[in-house]
Symmetry: C2
Subunit: 538 residues, 2 copies
């Protein structure tokens, strides 16, 4: 067989030869729309690649980006790996201190930054030494002095001078730092091979994402967060229309894009999707959508929202699970053929689960007694392996505790696995509540609380208890104008859970603190509890 | 990233863990149905692997099979590569002489043969030296003396003794000989990696095959011919129900299986599919089918048959193109989104084409002036490359003329490529007719002749001509009871082609000679012509 390396340039060549007339669309900071073709995109990628070489970027160098989702960011996704360098998207929601730390550790040689994000950059600029900073303006405003202008750089780039990376597929192409809620962020290197294999596996018909050239895909999930779940590379390989929202992530703008660009597939965290559902419900018939599938990741979507979206708008809400360490897609909530003839309600019960591993991903679970049975009941820490799963962290020798002795990644997520290999994430291992020797899933309690008509958001944390070691405590945000009593909440939960699961304490708060990627920041709630109830129950 | 090798055992592990309850169905020689689960299948694969090791089969050894499509053949597809050996399916339609030659060249160590194929085996048995012959009985008849019984072997195999291959993904796993119409057959080795990548690429939603766990797949295309186009590995990776017809390939039996097993996807050469269409038309409403897609390969299906199947039975006829050297899938006739709003007729015009390369396959065309433009008009020899395209032939040093100096495979097929990368095969290069310096496509003439109501089959060959060097000559098989004049045929063709394309000569014959894989054997027709018209026109 031919020695054909699995590299990002192979994706670019395919896009260039087969899809030159297809469209890529960006929503600019001023909400105007910019659109161009794959054909023009490829020419600009080559120009950027050639220009970066001229700037001194060599194979193996890291080039950081600090950008929202837009076509220029997509250009960097290709130009940087296609000259053998490593693209390193920075999470704009990290603290300035963390960003400085990351750039320093990664030894980024060059930074490409959105003009609208310069204020963030100014905050950590003094902590870092970086040779060149390139600014993407996206407006008529000139780029401030001292910075290179992205568009000028491209104009001076010569596409004919572009020399495509032609090396080993195991060469690093992409760098991502995880948004750990504790400790310093940790870096992961994706190789050309891992990107290609992740792309192929994600695009299989059997994952139920199954993007094709007929789709129009809006990547709401940020390109600075786990590579926008692979959507940019996926879309480019199969020539789907690509739509990027820029910095305008408000519900109204997202709905405008969904409608105007006749988006068929999108991906986002549950809170964003919940916002879209509320807006659709508020204005029945206003938006003419073509949506077929919403990929959900980050955390689970409550069952009633999955159902609402499907029954009111004919949209499939597809749970996925993954992490930066898994490139990131690991499992998707496909519907098993056994359920084809089941009732809709049974199918929704099933759709709550995170799902089945995509091809080339292998899973298992482990608790104190060893590997757990695949019975859908026994909980254990999920372990995974596969060709697009990280085997180590960048420059990190202390994180080896994240891998088993036989080379599987310990995910830190507590899950059950059923007989067909469908996993259900019950909790982050550190958020699991252990009360009187028994495990209580905070996520299950939260979902149940959020199904109460008065509750908008709920987070449940384990708090110290003299008798049971730990007990669940619920923090609630109520819907506008709604009230609810503690007894009412307890009654609501008692229908669904064993008695020892029911929290004694409930606190109403204004907002639940969240991480940079929109997940509940439970460590902050535990600290809050310990501050406010220093001695109670201990 | 983890060092995870792309091997056949990875497919088996997935089937074992996720799809143990799914079904595999064989139609036995006596037309009874045998069915069992993936769970049992995996246990038997392990037993077979362990038993073959006991028989002395070592890593790298070739194990030949001479079998129809059935579950035991599927077991060998996995057991042999999963112990690091190489499965070598023999084409039962090759001559005994060729089979002897192939086994000798491949140095097959062991042969697994269907009892119903023993008469064929007896014909070349004396030419070869092979250490053990294992017979699959599939009936109550005992296996003849001197042979090992497949079922006895399995009963004595110990699944716990099975040790899965754990080596490099570039190790050979599968061997296939091409059914060349000239010269000796040539062997091609597929690696574990090439099989996995071919499987992933074939299963992408964008190929329009898109087999999932919900499908029931009947492999009519033989497992001894280019690995049944990859269907056995494809189905096993995603847990589709698998249906194998055994030796009973008559239309009636195929329709019985399509109906009884609610088959959704099947693959076969056009003649088989034409037979199915005729039978459906003869008995309206008799068969309740669940078919959605028929993969067509080997040669093109006339446009009116594609249309008939779609309009009368709601079945998508999906052209594919490939060759043993391409593992074998290279392109599929997906419908480009530009055509979404086109008329049905325009879509059928498009569906005649072989299609667009599947991901990781790259194409280009070449004629005397160099690489051809992608204009859909200019004809040239198709060249391909990719990670599942052969780079050489087994033990063959003379076949290097099949590869370009920069490492692409010359396919020997003459094609056009349109601006979206859709290829249309116009002819085999050796079947192209060059008349007065201009090329005439025999395939185009054949399809046009077969659209005449009196014509069942048509083959057009180039015959010597004193003035034009070569002229087309048509051989026709008429439908029962039909007649047609030469003038009528000429009038029919004149509507569609330039005048110099229209053949002067037409011969009515009883049957068109075919190759072992059902393609027209044009060399035999050219010889026939030269025998019958030794001096005419020269």
């Amino acid at each position: 067989m031919m020695d054909y390396q699995l590299t990002v340039p192979a994706i670019l060549r395919r896009a260039e030869t087969l899809y030159s007339k297809k469209e890529i669309v960006s929503c600019l900071p001023d909400k105007n729309i910019y659109r161009y073709t794959y054909g023009n995109f490829v020419v600009r990628v080559k120009k950027l690649g050639a220009a970066l070489r001229k700037q001194g970027v060599r194979e193996g160098d890291r080039v950081a980006t600090l950008c929202w989702n837009h076509h220029q960011h997509l250009e960097t996704y290709f130009a940087i790996p296609c000259i053998g360098a490593i693209i390193h998207p920075l999470n704009v929601r990290f603290s300035a201190e963390d960003l400085g730390y990351i750039i320093d550790e990664a030894e980024d040689k060059c930074l490409i930054v959105d003009q609208v994000l310069l204020p963030l950059f100014e905050k950590f600029k003094s902590f870092i030494s970086i040779s060149s900073v390139i600014v993407i303006s996206q407006s008529s405003q000139p780029v401030p002095e001292g910075y290179l202008d992205y568009e000028t750089l491209l104009q001076n780039g010569d596409a004919d001078q572009f020399k495509s990376f032609d090396g080993d597929e195991n060469t690093a192409a992409f760098m991502c730092y995880t948004s750990g809620t504790t400790g310093k962020p940790k870096g992961i290197l994706y190789s050309h091979r891992s990107i290609l294999l992740h792309t192929l596996s994600s695009l299989l018909a059997s994952t139920d994402i199954g993007i094709t050239e007929h789709d129009s895909v809006l990547s709401i999930v940020p390109m600075f967060h786990a590579g926008a779940w692979g959507l940019p590379y996926n879309c480019t390989l199969v020539g789907a229309k690509q739509v990027y929202p820029g910095p305008n992530l408000d519900t109204e703008n997202l709905l405008r894009l969904l409608e105007a660009e006749q988006v068929t597939v999108t991906g986002a965290v549950p809170t964003v999707i919940q916002g879209i559902l509320h807006k659709l419900d508020e204005h029945p018939g206003k938006y003419k959508l073509a949506l077929r599938t919403i990929m959900i990741g980050g955390s689970a979507m409550p069952r009633f929202l999955v159902k609402s979206f499907n029954e009111r708008y004919g949209v499939r809400v597809l749970h996925t699970w993954g992490m930066t360490e898994t490139s990131p897609l690991g499992v998707t909530s496909t519907i098993h053929s056994e359920l084809k003839k089941a009732s809709k309600e049974e199918q929704y019960d099933h759709a709550r689960k995170q799902g089945q591993p995509i091809p080339l991903v292998e899973i298992r679970g482990r608790n104190e007694s060893g590997l757990i049975p695949w019975d859908g009941i026994t909980m254990g820490e999920l372990e995974v392996r596969g060709p697009f799963v990280a085997a180590s962290y960048y420059k990190d020798t202390t994180a080896n505790t994240k891998f088993t002795s036989d080379g599987w990644l310990k995910t830190g997520d507590i899950a059950t696995i059923d007989e067909n290999g469908f996993i259900e994430i019950r909790d982050r291992s550190k958020d699991m509540i252990k009360s009187g020797g028994e495990w209580i899933s905070s996520v299950a309690l939260e979902n149940a609380l959020m199904s109460h008509p008065a509750v908008l958001e709920a987070a449940v944390v384990g708090v110290p208890d003299a008798r049971w070691m730990e007990r669940p405590h619920a923090y609630l945000v109520l819907k506008e104008g709604k009230k609810v009593s503690t007894q009412e909440l307890k009654n609501h939960l008692q229908e669904m859970f064993p008695r020892f699961w029911i929290p004694e304490g409930y606190s109403i708060i204004d907002a639940i603190p969240k991480t940079s990627v929109g997940k509940f920041l439970k460590s902050a709630l535990r600290e809050k509890y310990n501050r406010e109830y220093p001695a109670i129950n201990r």
